[in-house]
Amino acid sequence: MNEERYLAEVDLAWCPGCGNFAIRKSLARALAQLDLPPHKVVLVTGIGQAAKIAHYVNANGFNGLHGRTVAAAAGIKLARPDLTVIAESGDGDLYGEGGNHLLHNIRRNVDLTVIAHDNRVYGLTKGQASPTAPRGYRTRAQPAGSPSAALKPLALAVALDAPFVAQAFSGEIERTADVIAQAIRHKGFSLVNVLHPCPTWNRIQTFAWYWERLVHLEERGHDPSDRAAAFAVATGSGEEIPIGVVYRTDRPTFADGHPVLAGDPLGLRALPAPNEVRPLLAEFA
């Protein structure tokens, strides 16, 4: 399928030079690569610059609340396993406000693909430090520098045994599309952390800064099935920025063997007739 088909013809309200443009392109290319019809895809987003992508891609969309992206996505996927559900939002939404939902849905292992736009800052609210901002990162809200250490989302996901953990860089459109396609194809919870510069607010982690530090895991002979190696990559010093599939495993998903989820999708089942309910009421007679 042609990737143009997935690009909605609307004005994009992102700043010039924003990494989100490229991520949108990578997502469309991944969907085209997988030949997924737009009506079989649900893009679930929260609030933030990245979350606007639900309006910019031709697919079903659930643009919900800030931080609740993964929770809503899990509800959709559990009701409709016939749909491909992608939860996509920024680092503030997924790792800050929504951290708890991320933890527990990795544990649940719902078959979701989570794409995190990680630019280390809050774009929509004008530049505050995000959970992935380095310690000491100065903003108007953190004038003395962020006092907290940066969250390491890859390490978090590997520690929780997320079945698919990868990192991408927005500047590499083809490579990012490929890793998103792999994540969608992988059964179970997948996290793709997509690093991207914020030319408006982040003057430190610029394109040039990233290009100097990127290393490609497949070129390093990294084995994503080796959890210890994956953890070493995910907890790395930060001097090098690993790109590619960090960790890959198979473990039972939420739906596997679930007594209710076998059979027709819950969201498409018929309403009960009164006679089907009478045996239930007989318990009280």
Binding site: L65, A71, G75, A79, L83, L266
Partner: protein
């Protein structure tokens, strides 16, 4: 005629199980009953009491005084003995209390230990004695024990028989059966909400455990496999309502169940439901607050909170069932209203209703029609462009599910256009606000009027006004107070129907609000909508349910 039995013991002594067995035995005898469970928030120790009122007509309230007290330990004897009616009987173990204190002291603990090698069965021995005093057939109680204990029934059946042997004969003569098998049902309010949800086609429940929301979760979990319902324990209440909204967007009728604190966490999600016009039903079991409050007690403090929860303006439906039958039908209706009008619906109960047993007329799931309110797929396929939020006269936009046709379905928590795309066009904003709010007009037409008892004019009468689970206590008080009193009760509280209320105020001598709060929230609500205020207020905020005696004492004061 009424006989009231109270079984009281420490948590862990099996008060609930004994109460269940006694309630089921009385129900099988063809008699009405109300069984109120009162807990301390502890798993072991603390006070648990089950108060069972037996009657020849429906009983929907509890009472303070008892005719027969079964005290499982010394603390309960001291605590509840003063609440035994003149001429009543107190049963306890021989090791409890003092000889000559008027209690019937039986060797229950000794028999359970020595004869049955099962010390916990002491309670069943006392239950046997109580059942005999009540004139219940031993076989009926045995059957109830079999269904309660399953393959562990045998020693308990022997304990029951030992109990029957301990007292000479019956002390009370129960009325003849009042209904035939199949004409009535015995259930709690919590079970009724769960059963109503299943009957309405609920397919998804996400909840974080919180008393008294949890019994609904457990009921659905117990029936999930058979009726095809996904029951998932969410990481928090915020997740619960957002998961439910996701599931509902995708086509699964969805429920969340919680109490005030959990509902507070859901509030942003409730607002989202209003904005994306996605149905969800919230069961909100009230308990006294603020904050953690009295976790296992009852109250009605969340009426205004539930009505005002959520930033921004959007319509909602709110019901407060009066008893288990009402809880069944109104939960069904809540799902239907939520689906038809694409709004959040709140079923407002409380610990008293959720945990209390009552005998009600047999439930009929056909009474509330369950309809598919979605846009048929053939129609969707015929459309050019599908607009999820098309502006209509009723305010209701034809709702389609994602993935059932090539038409895309987009919803957005931002203000959006008819398609669902984010917009800052302020003309569209105005049209969307008006469209959403118009739905309340259609909902109001489907609201049942307040119940007025006795029917007819209220001239010269004092009206006791209430809502929700206080129904039984207020009705009983009005019946006992007799001429000159009437009962007006609201069960569908929002959108509020005001025409009947204006008549009540126009005709009645005095309107007395009876409510489980310290501030009189229904009074504030009605005043806000009509300018009419209750003349008097009977509050209750000690965590206990209202009884008719309390209301009469306050009204006559």
């Amino acid at each position: 005629m009424n006989v009231t039995v109270r079984i009281a013991g420490a948590a862990g002594q099996g008060v609930q199980t004994l109460g269940d067995i006694l309630a089921r035995s009385v129900f099988r005898t063809g008699l009405y009953l109300h069984g109120e469970m009162s807990y301390h928030s502890r798993i072991r120790g603390g006070e648990n009491a089950f108060t069972l009122r037996i009657g020849d007509s429906p009983v929907l309230a509890t009472e303070t005084k008892a005719d027969l007290l079964v005290a499982l330990n010394a603390e309960m004897l001291v605590l509840y003995r003063p609440a035994v009616r003149e001429g009543g009987v107190v049963l306890t173990d021989e090791g409890v209390g003092e000889p000559g204190d008027g209690a019937v002291r039986l060797p229950a603990g000794r028999l359970a230990r020595d004869e049955l090698k099962l010390p916990i069965a002491a309670g069943v021995v006392l239950l046997g004695a109580a059942a005999r005093l009540l004139g219940l057939e031993q076989e009926r109680v045995s059957n109830a024990i079999r269904s309660a204990f399953g393959d562990r029934a045998e020693p308990n059946l022997r304990a029951l028989a030992l109990g029957y042997d301990q007292v000479p004969d019956r002390r009370w003569r129960l009325p003849p059966p009042q209904f035939q098998a199949g004409e009535a049902m015995l259930l709690t309010g919590g079970q009724a909400v769960g059963a109503g949800a299943i009957a309405a086609g609920c397919r998804f429940l996400a909840a974080y455990p919180m008393t008294p929301g949890t019994p609904v979760m457990e009921f659905l979990a117990g029936h999930a496999a058979r009726y095809g319902i996904l029951v998932e324990q969410a990481e928090d209440e915020i997740a619960a309502i957002n998961m439910a909204l996701g599931a509902s967007y995708a086509g699964a009728r969805a429920l969340v169940t919680t109490s005030g604190g959990g509902f507070a966490l859901m509030v942003e999600g409730l607002s989202l439901a209003g904005m994306i016009e996605t149905p969800v039903v919230v069961h909100l079991g009230q308990r006294p607050g603020p904050a953690t409050g009295l976790p296992t007690r009852t109250g009605q403090e969340n009426l205004l909170f539930a009505l005002h929860a959520g930033h921004g303006e959007f319509p909602r439906y709110l019901v407060a069932p009066t008893d288990p039958a009402d809880a069944f039908y109104l939960t069904m209706k809540a799902f239907e209203v939520a689906e038809k009008h694409q709004v959040p619906a709140i079923v407002l109960t409380d610990q008293f209703l959720v945990d209390s047993y009552a005998v009600v007329p047999a439930l009929d799931p056909a009474r509330v029609p369950v309809r598919d309110h979605l846009l048929p797929v053939e129609e969707l396929n015929r459309m050019g462009r599908y607009e999820r939020f098309a502006v209509t006269e009723s305010g209701i936009s034809p709702r389609a599910l994602p993935g059932v046709s090539e038409k895309l379905v987009l919803v957005d928590s931002d203000e959006h256009d008819a398609y669902g795309r984010i917009t800052e066009d302020l003309a569209i904003r105005r049209a969307m606000v008006e469209k959403r709010l118009r739905k309340a007009d259609g909902m109001r037409e489907e609201i049942s009027p307040p119940e007025i008892y006795p029917a007819g004019s209220l001239r010269g009468k004092r009206v006791l006004l209430g809502w929700g689970s206080t129904y039984g206590a207020i009705r009983e008080a009005v019946e006992k107070l007799g001429d000159g009193y009437a009962h007006v009760h609201l069960r569908e509280l929002w959108p509020l129907r005001t025409e009947e209320l204006r008549r009540v105020w126009a005709e009645a001598e005095e309107v007395v609000l009876v409510e489980g709060t310290a501030t009189g929230q229904l009074g504030a609500l009605i005043a806000g909508e009509t300018g009419l205020r209750p003349h008097r207020f009977v509050p209750r905020y000690d965590g206990r349910p209202f009884t008719a005696e309390d209301i009469i004492a306050e009204v006559e004061r």
